[in-house]
């Protein structure tokens, strides 16, 4: 067996692509061929080393809702992290190092001090930024809905007319909205701090007949992935319009309030 053939068979053997008979023959050959045995051992050790070094994180780091909520923050966090390390973290390596003269060393020592000072400033900003980013803990719509129910379905603020609704929505999501009238539908009032999409998500409590319905609305840019709902008694509906995104949580099979949301006239 040539070296090239042996190399190929080693891979097939370790990939478990040899038939049982071929595997047996290969193992028998390994018993008498120290070189083959060593090559297999090296490959096994190498595979183990790669698995250890590149085992993917088990926690779902990707799709972090906070970062997805704010792509600019994500990019900033990443850039800042690189600025702190001074380089992209890798495997090292590089070219052979020439001997440094004293003057070059001094200049570099000064550079190190400057870099350290910059790093401290950046680290401070980064820490401050991270404290802002991580302060937000997203809440699933159904969990927020159930919290509203258990809190008595009471609003924080009540709008008396369309003008007040337009003012509130302009202030909260940047767009003046109104809710069209419909039979059986009653707007109970508004709330905040649900943390469904962001810290600025606005809550609208409404009833349709005896059903209690909650709308969560925010700027479209604040939209994020929402976990799949597991409560069979409530449904979540989504609508995106007027630069905003709306989620209706309701015991009904169809969205009731979402179709009624419209841009305020004027």
């Amino acid at each position: 067996m040539s070296e090239a053939e042996a190399s190929e068979v080693i891979d097939l053997y370790l990939d478990r692509l040899l038939s049982p008979e071929e595997s047996s023959r290969f193992e028998a050959r390994m018993q008498i061929d120290a070189g083959l045995r060593a090559a297999v051992e090296t490959q096994r050790r190498l595979d183990g080393s790669l698995r250890k070094a590149f085992a993917p994180p088990t926690a779902p780091e990707a799709l972090d809702p906070v970062v997805l909520r704010d792509p600019i923050a994500a990019a900033h966090v990443r850039t800042t992290a690189q600025a702190i390390t001074g380089k992209a973290v890798g495997m090292g390596g590089g070219t052979d190092a020439p001997t440094l003269s004293i003057s070059v060393r001094r200049r570099k020592a000064t550079l190190v001090r400057i870099a350290a000072a910059i790093a401290i400033v950046v680290l401070g900003g980064y820490t401050f930024h991270m404290s802002r980013v991580t302060a937000f803990v997203p809440v699933a719509p159904v969990a927020a809905y159930e919290k509203e129910l258990s809190a008595g379905f009471r609003p924080y603020e009540v709008c008396e007319n369309d003008q007040q609704v337009a003012t509130l929505t302009t202030r909260a999501i940047g767009t003046a909205l109104s809710i069209a009238a419909a039979a059986d539908v009653h707007l109970v009032g508004w709330g905040y701090k649900s943390n469904v999409l962001s810290e600025d998500t606005v809550t609208l409590l409404a009833t349709a007949g005896t059903d209690k319905i909650v709308i969560y609305m925010d700027r479209a840019a604040a939209d994020r992935f929402l976990p799949e709902e597991t409560d069979p008694n409530v449904n979540v509906f989504r609508r995106e319009a007027f630069g905003a995104v709306f989620y209706e949580v309701s015991p009904r099979d169809e969205a009731t309030i979402l179709p009624l949301i419209q841009k305020a006239p004027g």
Binding site: A38, A39, L63, V67, A88
Partner: protein
Amino acid sequence: MNDSQAQTAQQRSLLSREEFGRLFSACRQALWVIAAAILSDREHASDIVQEAAITAYAKRDEFTPGTSFEHWVGQIVRFTALNELRKRRTRREKTSDFAGDVREESRPEESGGVGRFGQLMESTEAFDDATKRALRQLEEIPRACLLLRTVLDMPYSEISRTLGIPEATAMTNVHRSRQRMRAALSAAGAGSSGGGHA
């Protein structure tokens, strides 16, 4: 717009946000490995996947249902990682005198007068280090093939689908990468003694 364009546009609009999230989560590990393979490090792989998720999500209407989501999003991860690599190379070129020298100066095996690998290769740490150095010598795609196969035990058909390359190419990439790494480790004295088949 003709019928086929209209049909394509209609198909593309079918990928819902929930479906996107589900599909992305299903191949997250493979995407992470691709990012780690291209960057040759694990520290920033999650950042790359995150960034690619944002990009893919923004462009999700460009995905055609029925085609391979893994390949589509894998391409985005690849390009994102390659962009990052290019930025690093630019940075390294700008600071090569300084950063490179400091790294080399701090190598314990060299300062201790022991050969670059020598006896230290017997230790797991030195072997791991040598493995990473050998891995860095590979091209990005073969490196991704090797890691997908080794780390995730991914079948060649799936590697082919994820990276958008023929299955035979995936197999060849893995085989040659292993060969090159074994050769590099043997040359460095890291492999088991007496290896004559690497």
